[in-house]
Amino acid sequence: MRRQPLWVIIALAAHAATLAVPAGAAAGTQRAPLLPVSAAATTEPVEGADADAAPAGAAAAQHDDDDAFHSVDELTSMSLEELMEVSILNTRVTSVTRERTRVAEAPAAVHVITQDDIRRSGHTSIPELLRLAPGLSIARINANQWAISARGFNHVFHNRYADKLLVLQDGRPLYNPMSSGIYWESQDYLLQDIDRIEVVRGPGSTLWGANAVNGVINVVTKSARDTQGTLAHALAGTQESIGALRHGGRIDEETYYRVFAKYRDHYNFANPDGTDAHDGWDQFRGGFRIDRHVGDGDVFTLQGEGYEGQIGRTHDLDTLDLPFSVVSQDQFSINGADVIGRWTHSISPTSDFSLQMFYDRISRNDPVVGYEQDTFDVEFQHRFALTERQQIVWGVGARLMSDELENTQVIRVRDTSRQTYLLHAFVQDHVTIVPERLHLFVGSKFEVNPFTGLEVQPGVRGLWTPNETNTVWAAASRAVRTPNRLDDDADILFTRVGLPGSLVEVRGEHNNELKSEEVLALELGYRVEPVEHLSLDVATFYNRYDNLIGYVPTEPRLADPPLDLIFPRQARNVMAGETFGAEVAAHWRVSDRWRLSGSYSFIETRINNRGGVDASDATTIEDSAPRNQFQVHSYVNVTRDLELNAALYFVDEIGIHPNVGRGDLPEYARLDVNVAWRPREGLELTIGVQNLLDEAHPEFVPEAREHYSEVERMFYAQLVWKF
């Protein structure tokens, strides 16, 4: 354990300095007249899905946009026509209850990353944007790989990526059923066209199913109706460059479309010794979205995208001769495409249904795990009022997957091609016990998968709003992480050891009798708006895990030449454990021009093995996520068209697997600062820096084989032009 208080103090001082600059500057411009709203109300309209009447107010947990925030006094000086153009500041989410719910009234630990947050953060990719959410562990392994999880378990272990998080984009799951992890480098979008990213910590399994063990992330893109016109984006930075173009238009009175293309090129990071890490990558992506709004009740959406890219990877390659392991630098290609069709029909304000279908194809020529996969999915969802006090949401769905795996030196499977399926259904009853005050959500997901058969994942959530400014919620849920294709079928080469006169291989072996990893999660949360313009959100949890998968050494056996001996380790459900922790988030609108938000999270993980498993595996999980994290964001509108944004992140130390090195990866602080200037309507110029505090730092050390590099400081300049 090493502490670096100096680091933190300097970071805090730097942040204080950030605030000092705009506060003074803003004071000098207080008299700048506010523009007539009719002139200002020319930017894009917001997402068009929430035509629902607003229920009575509760604590506003979040403010999503403060470009032209108006106080009551300003509002009363506006005309009726002007008022009609003002948007409400509050954010609604669908991930928690599958009904559109206000964040402040969601019975779960939920955070929304809004378009405004995205724009002001200076982050350039979806995985990096997730740093904004409280309580997530975001660790960048190298230029093109990330380890991301919620509430612990952020280990990357023998090609097992953090596997207890479900990530969706417009309802399409992004996690890879092969390994249950997510290839973050394959996930991208035109960031300006993302409406919001909903981040739910804790199980979302009751509605979303297996893998939503510790969290659900839903990336929601804007409707084509809200992205009319042309947008050009160019970013030039010391670590990457990005160019993108989008055009949105109208096909007829009811039908809107957009098309976009984006290219990104990321340069190499450096190894800890300063040498080139050979982890640069580039990617081209193109896509479209068509939304047809028929009357008030029907929305038809068709969207799709495709991408192709090259990834640089440095990894250890095992050999049969001395030195048995060499460092290999490869470049491989990835590509993919998907199409989603969705029909949403509104029957009445309390009843609607949707039918969604998607097709998704991924291909990776990864030298470690190469495969192709096709997925076809169909899902139906229906919402209706059973009685005046009971709102039912239910749905059914089916997924077909077909894959083709390439046996590599590292991964060997018996079936190189498989067709698998997944059938699922869910039902949730939202009971209003006392209108506006007490709500109960009871539901369950039922899922049939080819590995463990039927999985039932029930959950109950309660929401109590004693008055307009206080909200208390509690939840109990059971969730599972079902075994995946690799657990079930793949043998993995861990390492080879050359002993005098013999060559020994340590090999992880599949187990087709694995059970699902499971969790029983208890959560309790509280939101309060103690004074006007300040809101606090506290979430606590206690999770009990069972049947966690670990590798158990079994009898060594003789092997075919040139190998002499194999030390097998079989995947088994041998570990159990618990986690507990708390996350606190706060939003404070200091003035009309200055907004602060921040969060702190704490987690304690305890894993024990029930027999035979290498104890270091349990330790790896325990130390995989930082125990303490905090972040502070400052958003200042210096003038009407000049913004100063700053973000400070502190991430506690994490452990390193004993196989790789001894000790811990030290804590780090990261400071991002940017200045955005809008010289004229539709044009925004930004200059900024990420990682201002240090030249480079590592964030993660994967267990074996894969190499990590240091995340470097980046200066960048960006242009976004809408016309």
Binding site: P22, A54, A68, I88, R662
Partner: protein, 197 residues
């Protein structure tokens, strides 16, 4: 392996920070206040609704007998738990409409109701909605609420949200029954409640 994370691994760098902050300051000074159009106007939900309620007073005509004399104020009131948290009171403070000043009142519940001119019915009073609507009709108050079934239950103006913007629905029959007149401009801006045959 361990020496990868030696004590010198942290490389603090002050000069770039200083440069960036100087640059930020420079930009701030260089640009100064400007009148270029800003972004989308936004506001708190109930701040915005309070401003709408204030606007409604401009477009409503009350029967003469609902005022004691020509100088009595237009009373804007809330019955039940107040979701405005002071915003409505602030919106009407020190304002005059058509020669009358505006006044704000709050009634704890349906039983405490007294004559007024605009009445916002809190969702907390859902159970007493029928009684409130009848009472308000008697003393010719413009009734306003957020609750979904408000106009169906006899209320006059119901707020709804479309694309994050505040819209409202007017039930003309209820307005006319109370002897109120709403000007065409307001009717045009709102949705009209369709009476079911």
């Amino acid at each position: 392996m361990r020496d990868r994370f030696g004590p010198n691994f942290t490389r603090l760098a002050a000069p770039p920070w200083a440069a960036a902050s100087a640059l930020a300051l420079l930009l701030t000074l260089a640009v100064g206040p400007s009148a270029a159009p800003g972004a989308e106007p936004v506001a708190g939900e109930y701040d915005l609704k309070a401003a709408f309620v204030y606007q409604f007073t401009h477009y409503t005509e009350w029967p003469a007998e609902s005022f004691e004399d020509s100088t009595s104020p237009i009373v804007v009131a809330v019955v039940g738990e107040d979701p405005f948290r002071g915003a409505l009171e602030r919106a009407v403070r020190d304002k005059t409409v058509g020669g009358r000043s505006l006044a704000y009142r709050h009634f704890a519940n349906a039983n405490a109701l007294e004559p007024c001119h605009v009445l916002y019915v809190s969702p907390s009073e859902r159970q007493q909605l029928g009684q409130i609507v009848r009472d308000a009709q008697d003393f010719a108050a413009l009734t306003v609420a957020d609750t979904e079934d408000f106009t169906r239950e006899g209320g006059m103006v119901r707020f709804l949200t479309e694309n994050k913007k505040v819209r409202f629905e007017i039930r003309r029959k209820a307005v006319e029954a109370a002897g109120l007149r709403i000007k065409a401009q307001l009717l045009k801006a709102g949705h009209i409640y369709q009476e079911r045959p």
